[in-house]
């Protein structure tokens, strides 16, 4: 074959060109028909940007339908510090900004702006807030003369408002900007229409309290604007726009009046006691305390007070690092800890409820079993002596009298008799101690009630911290009066008394009562999305021969020879009899923890009130007094009928 024949060469050329075109067709088919769906997704992502607008969070109502957390729009002017560094006439700019703000209803000094610029933000990503709640005029001016205000920006933010100020701040919690780590791990909820309430780097989330636990409900559905951008990322049009939708409202069991009363009573009493001396001469630090008010009928949390506390408003526009640090040390206590659920205290004599239940239900004693209390109880050989508080001698007493006058000797005796068993611990477990209550708030503590085995295990695991791993009779004697081998949270204590009050049902305490539709009307039943049903976590068996003697003993506490009688002088107990138990837990080196656990009215208990106050001395004089002030309000509510309409009707 002649390889240089022109015909052949022309054919070769033709075949090459044909091959090229076939290759183009094949590739075209591949791209436009086979790969198109996958590539089109990339292309869309390329030319659109999603702009998310945060939606208002749901509102929060109290049990009586009052708005306790609301929203409002705040116009905030801030300065980007990094941008400010690039501004030439920095001082002139700040002076100009101060003038504009001052002239338009937000008086501000240059020095104030400078100070805000130097304040370290807890959230470094945000610009330094210079002025919040500025007027529309300021915004008009800033946008009109934008080129005169480099690095200055403004935004319209929906912020939380708290019509009742700091009330219930520990329950409500606060919101803040999402962190990068949280953004990765947080699972987004869906709104009533099933739309995912997605998160973005600028999203605001609940960081504490109900704001955190009900984040999925409260969060609104962000507005999503799909903006078409050109290759230089400049917006050229809107492809779709989904306006933001408010989050679900929620209604709490909290009665804001009771909450405010409990907080005020606590703060007032701590202030009175602070710096005074208790009986043995120890100075009362009285730095902190808590009050829990529970509905024993369903575990609804009517009030949850803790002191010291913070103003959630301070978090609304971003809090400075200095102020944040300050909040962590108020009279030596952190305002950011909710002591009612996280504080752990030896329950002292309030625990005698549990010991008495253990002894009576296991047949160790009956209502008549009595011993002679000469003020001292001796254990072992050589004898170790355990005494009554204040070396009081109570004479011949049974369990009823022992509870009323708080005889330690009687309960030392019971603890001695139950040594070698776990009867007290079992009873404590039945009442819900040594376990989380499951309340719908974050950072709850567990407490502990050690057994012989647990003490040993702890020693084996941490021999340094727990040098002694043996269980002595003395340990059981101490346990019987709620000391040394036991700590509880105020909420656990309240729940145990609630269980006793309602005849033995242990409820999981709940702050939130109902989930409501966005922008709901609290009185409209159609707006209820769901009611949080009471959850029973256990029962205490309380037959009459067990419950009656204890009830009789506790009934006596608030009157006559009772340990809390002094706190209830002048309180009309015929209309609203109160059943309770004082506790005075010794803490080495500082003043005693004062406790009072109670419920009322006696025959049909509607409220459990417990107060626990650190370094505050004897039970009645601190916690008893605080509780009385709470009962005064509750009693007046009962008598006027104000409280009955909404409490506990969670069917």
């Amino acid at each position: 074959m002649d390889t240089s024949s022109p015909r052949l060469r022309m054919s070769i050329l033709g075949v090459v060109v044909l091959g090229c075109f076939l290759a183009l067709f094949a590739r075209l088919w591949y791209l436009q028909i086979m790969e198109a769906p996958a590539l089109a997704v990339q292309a869309t992502a390329n030319r659109t940007r999603t702009i998310a607008t945060e939606a208002p969070r749901g509102r929060i109502f109290d049990a009586k339908g009052r708005v306790i957390v609301d929203n409002r729009t705040s116009l905030i002017v801030s300065i980007d510090r990094n941008e400010l560094k690039k501004v030439k006439n920095r001082n002139e700019l700040i002076a100009r900004l101060a003038d504009v703000l001052t002239a338009n209803g937000t008086p501000i000094k240059i020095s104030t702006i400078e100070k805000r610029l130097t304040e370290k933000q807890a959230d470094q990503l945000q610009g330094a807030p210079i002025a919040a709640d500025v007027t529309e005029e300021v915004i008009h001016h800033l946008s009109e003369y934008a080129e005169d205000f480099p690095s200055v920006s403004f935004e319209r933010k929906t912020v939380r408002v708290y019509p009742y100020g700091t009330a219930a701040s520990n329950v409500l919690g606060y919101t803040g900007r999402i962190t990068a780590e949280t953004l990765k791990s947080l699972e987004a909820g869906t709104d009533p229409d099933g739309v995912v309430k997605s998160y973005h780097p600028d999203s605001i989330i609940g960081l504490a309290g109900v704001e955190a636990t009900y984040e999925k409900e409260l969060r609104g559905t962000p507005g999503v604007e799909l903006v078409q951008v050109d290759s230089k990322n400049r917006p050229v049009g809107t492809e779709s726009y989904q306006p933001p939708k408010s989050g679900n409202d929620i209604q709490l069991h909290i009665d804001i009046d009771v909450q405010i009363r409990a907080e005020q009573a606590l703060v007032d009493r701590l202030a009175v006691l602070r710096g005074t001396s208790q009986k043995d001469g120890t100075k009362r630090g009285a730095p902190a305390g808590s009050v829990v008010v529970l509905d024993p009928r369903d575990g609804g949390v009517v009030a949850l007070a803790t002191a010291p506390t913070y103003d959630p408003q301070e978090f609304a526009n971003g809090i400075s690092q200095d102020r944040y640090n300050q909040l962590q040390n108020i009279n030596g206590a952190s305002a950011l800890i909710d002591r009612s659920i996280s504080g752990q205290y030896a329950p002292g004599s309030t625990f005698k409820l549990v010991t008495a239940t253990a002894a009576l239900s296991n047949g160790l004693i009956d209502s008549k079993s009595s011993i002679y209390d000469d003020g001292v109880y001796r254990v072992g050989n050589p004898a170790q002596e355990f005494t009554n508080a204040g070396d009081q001698k109570n004479g011949n007493i049974n369990v009823i009298r022992a509870l009323t006058v708080s005889s330690d000797v009687y309960f030392y005796w019971l603890g001695d008799r139950m040594d070698g068993t776990t009867l007290i611990q079992d009873s404590a477990t039945a009442y819900g101690f040594d376990q989380k209550t499951g309340i719908d708030l974050p950072n709850e503590s567990t407490g502990y009630v050690w057994t012989k085995a647990e003490k040993k295990a702890l020693h084996n695991k941490y021999p340094e911290a727990y040098p002694n791993g043996d269980w002595y009779t003395g340990d059981n004697v101490q346990l019987a009066v709620g000391q040394y081998v036991i700590v509880v949270t105020p909420l656990q204590l309240a729940r145990a008394y609630a269980a006793f009050a309602n005849g033995g049902t242990v409820y999981q305490p709940h702050v939130v009562w109902k989930i409501l539709k966005p922008n709901s009307t609290v009185t409209n039943p159609n707006d209820v999305l769901r009611v949080i049903a009471p959850v029973v976590t256990g029962t205490v068996t309380l037959p009459p021969d067990v419950r009656s003697p204890i009830e009789s003993g506790l009934e006596g506490v608030t009157s006559g020879a009772g340990t809390a009688a002094s706190a209830f002088v002048g309180f009309d107990q015929t209309a609203f009899p109160i059943v309770g138990k004082t506790g005075t837990a010794q803490v080495k080196g500082i003043a005693d923890t004062s406790l009072f656990a109670s419920y009322g009215p006696a025959l049909s208990p509607k409220w459990v009130v417990t107060a626990v106050m650190e370094e505050s001395g004897f039970g009645a004089e601190a916690s008893g007094e605080v509780s009385r002030r709470v009962y005064e309000l509750l009693a007046s509510q009962t008598l006027t009928g104000a409280g009955t309409a909404t409490i506990g009707s969670s069917d």
Binding site: P6, M10, L13, V17, A23, L31, Q32, L39, A40, Q42
Partner: protein, 381 residues
Amino acid sequence: MLPQSISSRASNMSRRDPTAPLRHVDPVLIACTVILSIVGVIAVYSATRGPGPDYSKAYLYKQSTFMVIGAGVMVVFSIVDYRKLHDWAWVFYGITTALLVLVVSPLGSQSNGAQSWFALGPFQLQPAEFAKLSLIGALAFLVSEFRGDIDLRRLVALLATAGLPMALIMLQPDLGETLILVVITMAILLVGGLPTKYIVALSLVGLIGVLGALNSPVLADYQRNRLTAFVNPGDKSNKALYNIEQSQQAIANGRLTGQGLFDGPQTKLGFVPEQQTDFIFTAVAEQFGFVGSAVMLLLYGLLCYRIWRIAQVAKDTFGTYICVGVLAMFGFSAFENVGMAMGIMPVTGIPLLLISAGGSSTITALAALGLVLNVHMRRFQ
């Protein structure tokens, strides 16, 4: 007899004389040219009007003007007997070579790192475009003179003729245009009877040259990246890949029937760079889809087929070689330009003839087609 004969030929040329050029215009070639030119003007407009609402019409007017001028040039290049042009081949070659020298002198203008054009008021003259046609003319001239007998000495002469403009264009530098000249030369040498042993030898030298160039400092990094991007589509560090990804996404976005005229979002929003020239195919593919772009490629293929066919029926070898050169020019232009946009060819910017915006390339393309038509019209004379 004679005067009458002359007068009858003059007055009834097309009717009486079966060899008259006007009786042998190629309607298919002309139809393809016209349709592709219209498609080109529309594509250029859609790629340059911007996202609106103030649409820019500058490119629309400019490209239309070039088409009109080009049409005139095409008529001229088809009417003047190509065998007369035979004698002018070296004049054209000389002029364009001179222009190529001048363009790399301070007289030329620079953009995107290449000094490749003269600024003539609002227009830009790219001598490299004209060099394609003048090289075709010069090589066709030489190879037809050699009458299928190419020895080493003649081969050297041919390579020197082709090498001069190539070297000058590489000075700009413009890799794409140089490659077209290489392909044109290869095609004419192939059909012109270059002995097989030389073809093999040249292929080997070319292969080694390409590999050597890729691994030597002759090419700038960006050039190397662009050339190899299509081989390593996963290489994220390669910036040239961004363009190819964007263009492939735009093409894919066209799907079967396209987004519709002026409705291609990638095209409209300027995600694809150099969209009116090097990546013009993306505008066509996104807006008209597989159906539209396949039809356009078919028209292009049909045009190439006609040129190939005319090369075979040409009256003389000079005509054949001209057609072969023009075929190589169009075929490679389509394969490289469209192939690059679809990610199967290296990134070297060359226009898709008749479709891409550009005065010099459009006028050269139409002139080349005028020559081919010329050869066809005079195949019996």
